[in-house]
Symmetry: C2
Subunit: 256 residues, 2 copies
Amino acid sequence: MKKNKIGTYSFVAEPFHVDFTGHLHWSVLGNHLLNCAGFHAMERGFGMAEVNQNNYTWVLSRLAIEMNEMPEQYEEFCIDTWVENVYRLFTDRNFAIYGKSDGKIYGYARSVWAMINMATRKPADLLDLHGDSLLDFIETEKPCPIEKPGRIRVGESMPVRTLGVCYNDIDLNGHVNSIRYMEHITDLYPVDWYVSHRIRRFEMVYVAESYAGDNLSFFREETVDGSHDIEVRKNTGGENPEGEVVCRSKLKFDNK
Amino acid sequence: MKKNKIGTYSFVAEPFHVDFTGHLHWSVLGNHLLNCAGFHAMERGFGMAEVNQNNYTWVLSRLAIEMNEMPEQYEEFCIDTWVENVYRLFTDRNFAIYGKSDGKIYGYARSVWAMINMATRKPADLLDLHGDSLLDFIETEKPCPIEKPGRIRVGESMPVRTLGVCYNDIDLNGHVNSIRYMEHITDLYPVDWYVSHRIRRFEMVYVAESYAGDNLSFFREETVDGSHDIEVRKNTGGENPEGEVVCRSKLKFDNK
């Protein structure tokens, strides 16, 4: 049976997955998005387990989530996911998040993935390798009316926070979980900030991995358009004062 | 239709809910247990929403989880939960965690709950208030072959870690989520520790709430029987050097 191009998965906002305002945590949503990407790809023959067998692995390069509002405690919601485009080195996967009963759109997300060879860590040619199966599933009709992730530059040189990588940060791949950075970034703001602000858009750009024993420093600056740009660098100071960029993020807040 | 005394809920160990060894995180399991408690009570008329209507709320007092092994990534498992006993001020709720397909027992858990008046914060008399419905559901046949939570004393006066309470720590009740302490406690050990050790038993005793702006200090000592006893105190130093005890924990490790 030929699978639909669009995969749909449903969720409920569990009580311990909402913040003090009763809305789903961004990191929990991020986690759900990655799970949906995994299910969708697996069900269509190009999931992590399948590509691992050929010594390749999917790597998340960018993620942009934009939410008009967040599901509240006990609300049931669905996530649609589909492949928008396949290029030589990247593929674009989109998401729509909406109410299960009323179809109300909560928001959308865009992600960009690369595939790398697990031995050489070099990018694979998606058209060569998986062109057939991937191209079969490109969905061009379904809209994803949010901007693509853009460029993020942070000039600030004083970190707002420095954290050692902990046990709970590390996933099965042995590096800090992509979504965990989102959690640490939301924790850069005091609880009071979220009384008067909500995040509208959350962008992540993943540059390098970090591991147990690494120290992560978070640099933040406000841009002219009011967004907050954040850069996470590992192991700054010492022999290499600048450290190494791990990821960058851009947050756009609404006043409540 | 009369509900069974035992509620059964099924789960899968999601890829981002396992640690670097591929086993379910203790905090994720703790979260599932509390969700099961909530579902079971709600389905039988004494859930959080129902008791809140009368200005009461359930408070978790103790939790002890003992696992022969932890589910691995993608494994499907079930959690049974039932009320073992109802006393004037406390009720005992137990859990069994087992494989969905083969019934293999992963482990058991015990929890102790009180009900308090939301206005006065004073404990309610469970037999007076909810005797009828609660007593109806006491299940005495089903075994829970692990020890009850015991006494935990920590004499150590130098903290191993101090953390400010962050946005992601706080749940809808406005205080640090019970399970979040478990996560912070597992993070007291370096990643390498978990290469050679696994947690067999995790006990939590909840004493007081902590809030945004609090500083949590973690004190740890090893006891003669080899367990690790941990005390979490808030806002030590300053006018009240001892701070205030928030919770205590006892961890028992197996060597791998």
